[in-house]
């Protein structure tokens, strides 16, 4: 056996630990099985009262009182309880490292340990010696900046005092990750190398750098001899430039004797630490200065060097903290699982211990849990208890992160020396930096966090807490399974600035250097500070990061290549939807001289005095809204120029939001380019016209009194793709449908067609009155959206303001009669009549309910309107809008607003639109129903469940949620592949879930999903930029069997109320209606084609001809139904498609040529060309 030091013992102890744990877990399982019922109940009960719940005691399990059963029963219905536990168990199993991998890695570690022991010692080299010693080797010493020149101390390599396994692998909380496992090994340098004052001026760091390079040099040669083929590079531990380490990966050789661990995808990180307690920790407190630089001024006022100090202190404590956590693990059974949950939760949100990933990872989470097991309350009361389950530990820790401010209001102070007593307190008055302070080691555990990353962590924690508190739905997936770290989807707005433009103007002097260490850190901090101040309430959280973070570099280099020239700053913003588009940034009152001076110096020339309505005179900045550019971007551009560039040149601020907003059609209205994207001005004008029309109608002399008007048009709920523009009669949504209801009467005819005739008589009466007595124009039109009911009519009204309305009447008899028809029909008719009934509900009551709900929601979620309009635009450019009803699209789009988990509510057009696409691409509608809670606002987790506000709200209850879900399950039992109905969308307005998605064919739904997936893939691969955005809105035509190119002899853009491209808007003005209003003939053509060929061909087209670049062209694409257009069918007269005899007897086939000729016949002069799939 090889001789082992104490470090070796720790290592072997750990390895034994694996086996003993195995046994433990098996025992656990057994226990679980025996106590199925009781554990189910007690588990849930603890959820309910989480902070105060006593741990699982046997006594409690045995005595199931009636009340316990009651609680268990109630909560078992919530299903979350049991299933959540089971899910966690499964997840942890899934995340467990493979046993074979673990044992292989252990073998490797043993061998590596042996190799390290073989490294010869070397003593007292001067700097020059070091240089000459390493001259012939490929290894450089990774000295931190500034590189040492003349030193009066020597370098040595002595056998490490300890070699120990640290980090998650050491703690057995390692989990499988896509990148592979990193196994951390800490080598502790012997005490004798150091002197007392080595913590000053990089001295210990230089010594370590040499130690590391010497280690590297020898590992290189020795590992080969010991059959451990490896590749070594330098890596900054957690991105800390003061702390390089060795990253070791396996090299695959074909030699059988070699120990190769490439298949485990793991890497080993050799971290060199300092002996624990070697330096006076008080001297290294975060507010001390430990880098003495010579400045021209008094050298006593040197700034503190918190990063430097913390880096040195944490280098002394790797093993110390491992032991600390290990002790906690031993005392708390579920600690390990909870750490795994925490690690996964953080990882899915892009957090890790690394600077670049927020500086809060598995280690910090575990320390926090340990501290909370000791206390953590204001009085030192324990937040976590040792008997908690993994779920409870996790939840309570998340709750602590979400609700306790560790930055400004207070901080957490604990003592890692005492494990058992109440050693942790929440103390008031924070340090203005995120702080969890260990009194023993004097380390701020959160030293790698910034205010920015802390804000974001807190946000995630509070969002997850809401999800954990949700009793209606299963939130497991959103909490643990979805990765939401992609910049593309998590922010509302992303801005990129190339770093090099800041270089010349920034004074990054020695003082800045010692407090921030790198220019990147310095500029990140500065950008954050400037933006925080400039954007104020407009943003919720700001993330400032670098596009590329190079932590790994070749051992032949002292440090990684500087990429300042090519790297960019990535600023991610979470916006406050209510504030972000405000025109004015308010400053102090004019009287407050001092504040005014500050405000002026910050805002420069932009600050101006304004008098407000209430007579107050304030300093403020006025911004200009624009259709394409959010105000935020304008402010950022201005303030960057002012503060980061000395006002000399414009800063290059790259954002794609402008490109995206461009695709929203700009209305043909005065000053529309100056309207914010959130402006609902045009919709409000329409609303005013609607109000005056209904007022007028109310006062008409009619045989029955009008009870109500219910609008059902997208434009009246702010979701129409085109904004309403007066006299824009070519807009396909020009007419706004309104349902009129009279006071109840028994006189309505008791037969459907006669009822429709009576309604027509009423409409004729109104028509007469309007035309004769008012300046409104009206006429009657057919309403044929309900099959077999060909007598329905509606009244078209043109208002003097230039808007169009279509009024239909709903009576209390309609529904009874449709239902009666179903009752009286034969079995075969019943199927169709049920569809007819659905059509009726869709066109009347369903539409009314939907409209009411969405009108409120569009107001509440301010970015919903613009996002859903852009989504409609996308659908239209992909020729899909014609296939789906407005209501269905709006329901799909509202998902990411009312149920944004795992994100927060989108607060920009960009995030709204992208998340809708992402949701669509992920929605597996065969297996999952979309159940929407169509109410505004969230529930407050702190609020008591019994409170009136929560009880009175319209939220879906568990019962209704389960009802909808069971409706879905029933449906899928009959139709498992979803061939009849794809999108099941249930809500309080429609428990059946099928109202709006009944009419689609499978290929269209499949295409919608496929297109959204393609779009998301493009964005993931190539990012969001003007090219990819253009690609998103370019129709994919290759999949269709044929394309018909159409052209109208007149343009429809301006008459649809769209600002034509490349034209001066003041040249075109819509002021009147033509004699007869003819909507787009191309949509009529589509209708005709569908009438004749809908059973054999799917036609798609863009609904808005006016939106196409030329304003008069459009295409209709055709896709043959494969089941019908290929092969032969038995002859029947009602096959429903064009037949020609086939060679088989009595069988016919599809006559394609004839159909094409017929299409040409219908299209006539409108057809410009037709292309077939080659």
């Amino acid at each position: 056996m090889v001789k082992r030091s104490r470090g070796g013992e720790v290592l072997s102890q750990e390895i034994n630990g694996v086996e003993s744990f195995e046994v433990e877990s098996r025992k656990d399982e057994k226990k679980d099985n025996n106590e199925d019922i009781s554990s189910a109940s007690s588990f849930e009960q603890e959820n309910e009262v989480d902070d105060t719940a006593p741990p699982n005691t046997k006594r409690q399990k045995q005595q199931l009182s009636a009340q316990d059963v009651q609680v268990a029963r109630e909560t078992a219905e919530l299903f979350k309880s049991n299933i959540f536990k089971l899910q966690i168990d499964e997840l942890i199993k899934e995340l467990k490292l493979k046993d074979s991998h673990v044992s292989l890695i252990e073998k490797v570690l043993h061998r590596l340990y042996d190799v390290i022991q073989q490294i010869p010692e070397i003593k007292d080299l001067s700097l020059e010696h070091v240089e000459t010693y390493l001259k012939n080797s490929k290894v450089s010493v990774p000295f931190p900046d500034p590189k040492p020149t003349k030193l009066n101390y020597q370098f040595s390599y002595l056998k490490p005092e300890e070699v120990s396994l640290v980090g998650s692998f050491g703690l057995k909380t390692g989990i499988t990750t896509p990148k592979g496992v990193t196994v951390d090994i800490a080598l502790t340098m012997p005490k004798s190398i150091f002197q007392q004052k080595d913590y000053l001026n990089y001295r210990c760091l230089y010594k370590r750098s040499f130690y590391l390079s010497y280690l590297c040099e020898h590992l290189h040669s020795l590992s080969k001899k010991n059959h451990l083929p490896i590749k070594i590079s330098y890596e900054y531990v957690n991105g800390d430039v003061l702390c390089p380490a060795l990253k070791i990966v396996s090299v695959d050789t074909q030699n059988e004797d070699d120990l190769i661990f490439a298949k485990t995808k793991s890497s080993i990180r050799l971290i060199v630490g300092f002996p624990f307690g070697i330096f006076d920790t008080k001297k290294l407190l975060p507010d001390r200065n430990c880098i003495r630089v010579q400045t021209s001024d008094d050298s006593k006022n040197l700034p503190p060097t918190p990063l430097y100090n913390s880096s040195i202190l944490s280098s002394t404590s790797y093993e110390y903290y491992l032991k600390y956590l290990y002790t906690t693990k031993k005392t708390t059974e579920a600690f390990k699982d909870a750490s795994i949950l925490g690690k996964l939760w953080l990882q899915q949100r892009g957090f890790s211990s690394s600077f670049a990933d927020g500086g809060f990872g598995h280690f910090e989470f575990a320390i926090l849990m340990s501290a909370l097991l000791q206390g953590g309350g204001v009085n030192g009361n324990k937040i976590l208890l040792h008997g908690f389950s993994s779920y409870q530990l996790f939840k309570a820790t998340i709750k602590y992160l979400a609700t306790q401010d560790l930055s400004e209001e207070g901080y957490l102070s604990f003592n890692s020396l005492i494990v058992e007593t109440n050693g942790a307190f929440y103390k008031k008055n924070g340090f203005n930096v995120p702080t969890i302070f260990d009194k023993n080691t004097k380390i701020n555990i959160l030293w790698k966090m910034t205010k920015s990353s802390y804000e974001i962590l807190k946000k995630y924690a509070s969002e997850s807490l809401l999800l954990l508190n949700d009793v209606v739905r299963d939130r497991f997936e959103s909490i643990f399974l979805e990765n939401i770290s992609s910049d593309l989807f998590k922010y509302d707005l992303v801005i990129k600035c190339p770093l090099n433009q800041f270089l010349e103007n920034e004074n990054f002097g020695p003082l800045e250097k010692i407090s921030f260490l790198t220019f990147e850190n310095y500029i990140k901090n500065k950008v954050y500070v400037v933006l925080r101040k400039a954007l104020g309430d407009r943003v919720k959280q700001i993330s400032v990061n670098l596009e590329k973070n190079d932590n790994i570099f070749s051992v032949s280099r002292r440090k990684p290549n500087s990429n300042l020239e090519t790297n960019s700053l990535v600023v991610g913003l979470y916006l406050n939807p209510l504030e972000c588009e405000k025109l004015i940034t308010k400053g102090p009152n004019n009287d407050d001289q001092e504040a005014c001076l500050k405000f002026k110096s910050f805002w420069g020339q932009r600050a101006s005095l304004r008098k407000f309505k209430d007579g107050v005179i304030q300093l403020c900045c006025l911004w200009e809204s624009s259709f394409e550019q959010p105000i935020i971007v304008e402010i950022i551009k201005y303030i960057f120029k002012l503060h980061l560039c000395n006002n000399e040149k414009d800063i290059d601020v790259k954002t794609s939001v402008n490109e995206l907003q461009k695709f929203l059609p700009q209305p043909l209205l005065p000053a529309s380019s100056k309207q914010s994207i959130l402006s609902l001005h045009s919709y409000q004008s329409l609303n005013a016209s609607y109000e005056s029309l209904t007022k007028l109608l109310m006062n008409l002399e009619l045989p029955l009194k009008i009870r109500s008007f219910s609008p059902i048009s997208p434009a009246l709920r702010y979701t129409s793709l085109l904004q309403p523009v007066p006299f824009a009669y070519s807009n396909p949504d020009f007419y706004n449908e309104v349902i009129l209801q009279f006071e109840s009467s028994t006189k309505w005819p008791d037969e459907l067609i006669a009822l429709e005739k009576t309604k027509t008589a009423f409409l004729l009466k109104i028509n007469e009155l309007l035309n004769n007595e008012t300046n409104y124009k009206s006429n009657l039109t057919t309403f044929n959206k309900i099959q077999f009911n060909d007598s329905a009519t509606s009244l078209t009204i043109l208002t003097p303001e230039g808007y169009g309305f279509k009024i239909r009447i709903l009576t209390e008899r309609d529904e009874i009669l449709y239902l009666r028809a179903i009752e009286n029909s034969t079995e075969r008719q019943k199927q169709i009549l049920k569809k007819v009934y659905l059509e009726f509900v869709r066109n009347y009551m369903g539409a009314i309910k939907h409209h009411r709900t969405f009108q409120t929601l569009s107001h509440h979620y301010v970015f919903y309107s613009a996002s859903v309009r852009l989504f409609k635009k996308w659908l239209d450019s992909q020729l899909l809008l014609v296939h789906f009803s407005d209501e269905l699209i709006e329901l799909i789009a509202i998902k990411v607003f009312v149920d944004p988990a795992p994100y927060s509510v989108p607060s920009s057009v960009e995030s709204g639109f992208l998340r809708i696409l992402q949701f669509l691409s992920r929605w597996n509608w065969k297996e999952d129903a979309l159940i929407l809670d169509l109410v505004k606002g969230k529930i407050d987790p702190e609020e008591d469940e019994d409170q009136m506000t929560n009880k009175l709200s319209d939220r879906l209850t568990i019962q209704s949620y389960q009802l909808i879900n069971s409706n879905f399950e029933k449906l899928r039992q009959q139709d498992p592949s979803g061939s009849k109905l794809q999108f099941f969308i249930g809500s309080k307005d429609d428990y059946s879930g099928i109202l709006w998605s009944n009419e689609h064919s499978l290929p269209l739904s499949v295409r919608l999903t496929a297109l959204s997936r393609a779009a998301i893939n493009i964005l993931k691969q190539n990012g969001l930029n003007s090219e990819t955005i253009k690609l998103l809105f370019t129709p994919a035509l290759n999949d269709y069997d044929f394309i018909i190119n159409l052209k109208l002899p007149f343009k429809l853009d301006s008459s649809s109320g769209i600002l034509p491209q490349n034209s001066f808007k003041n040249l075109i003005q819509l002021t009147s209606f033509p004699e007869e209003i003819i909507s787009d003939p191309l949509s009529k053509l589509l209708e005709e084609l569908n009438k004749y060929f809908k059973d054999s061909i799917i036609f798609s087209s863009s609904k808005f001809t006016g939106l196409n670049p030329s304003g008069d062209e459009n295409i209709i694409s055709g896709l043959f139904y494969p089941g019908i257009t290929t092969g032969t069918k038995k002859f029947k007269v009602n096959l429903g498609f064009n037949l020609k005899p086939s060679n088989e007897e009595d069988k016919v086939e599809f006559n394609k040529e004839a159909v094409i000729t017929e299409i040409f016949r219908l299209g006539g002069d409108l057809i410009q060309g037709m292309n077939f799939k080659p």
């Binding site: 996964l344 037969e751 009576t758 057919t782 009911n789 909507s1079 009595d1146």
Partner: protein, 303 residues
């Protein structure tokens, strides 16, 4: 290729379709003539309506008609292939693309259907099919003969199907839009007035019948009591039927819900508790099952 001449009793007549101007210009399908196949058969009605008259003897059922066929195109066509066979009328279904006939008036009315005035004496015609009625029997025979001849002659002499030249392109679509968007108000109000009048008549008739019933005293000496809101006999009987059913249902329910204390005896409590525990257990098993399914669907892969 040997031409199929008959299929399931239908004559198969290929007709040539002339490519449109645009089609020619785009040179689509200039390789040969384009054929459309129509299927013809003597029309026979299997109905026992009293109007079993000569119509049947002189009408022709045509399936798979080219689009936009109307009386004018039919007249033109038969004028061309069978001079002398004069077309009297042409009926088709040009709107109902469902493969079924549904009359909402019939289905929603509770009135007696005896008085129904049907304005067309044909039953349901499938979409894309039509019935041509000739002036006399001879006309039909003539047409059939010449069609048979044409079929025999084969490819070279097949007739051209003349589309209605007006029903194409922009003008046609515009007209279509206008006819739907602008209904003639006078015409409409006349029609509504007429229909409402008819409906009222029918209703009155039905009401009269009902009133008659009121006056009749049956064998047991009872008379029918009729509410003033009631308008039809069927309405009452329909209601009676359904209310009888509902009553039955309720009685059954009532029987089940006997007045019985659920927590009086100890065993009841015990049973109930046991039941609850079992439920809980079942629930737990169910959840386990759910998780198992989720696992199979690989729902626990976080990456």
């Amino acid at each position: 290729m040997s031409q199929v001449q008959e299929i399931k009793g239908f004559l198969v007549l290929p007709v040539r379709l002339e490519p449109t101007v645009v089609q020619q210009k785009l040179k689509y399908n200039n390789e040969g003539a384009i054929y459309h196949y129509i299927y013809l058969k003597k029309h026979s009605v299997k109905r026992d309506l009293k109007s079993m008259e000569k119509d049947d003897e002189r009408s022709l059922f045509i399936a798979n008609l080219p689009i936009n066929t109307d009386l004018k195109t039919i007249k033109l066509f038969f004028g061309m292939i069978a001079t002398g066979a004069i077309v009297e009328k042409f009926e088709q279904n040009d709107f109902n693309t469902f493969d079924i006939d549904i009359n909402l008036t019939k289905l929603t009315s509770e009135m007696n259907e005896k008085t129904e005035v049907s304005n067309s004496d044909y039953s349901y015609i499938p979409f894309g099919c039509g019935i041509v009625t000739f002036l006399d029997k001879n006309g039909l025979n003539l047409a059939l003969q010449s069609i048979k001849k044409l079929i025999k002659k084969g490819n070279d002499n097949l007739p051209i199907w003349e589309f209605n030249k007006e029903l194409t392109g922009l003008e046609y679509l515009k007209k279509k839009i206008l006819s739907q968007e602008y209904l003639d108000e006078n015409e409409l109000s006349e029609k509504v007035a007429k229909d409402m009048h008819n409906f009222n008549l029918k209703e009155q008739q039905s009401l009269d019948e009902l009133n008659e019933m009121k006056d009749i005293v049956d064998e047991d000496g009872f008379t029918l009591v009729v509410s003033s809101h009631r308008k039809t006999k069927n309405g009452i009987f329909g209601k009676l039927k359904s209310s009888a059913q509902a009553e039955k249902h309720e009685i059954i329910n009532l029987k089940q819900k006997k007045k019985e204390k659920q927590d009086f005896y100890r065993f009841q409590l015990r049973e109930r508790k046991k039941q609850e525990m079992n439920d809980l257990l079942a629930k737990f098993k169910e959840d386990q099952e759910k998780v198992k399914i989720m696992k199979e669907k690989r729902r626990f892969k976080p990456y």
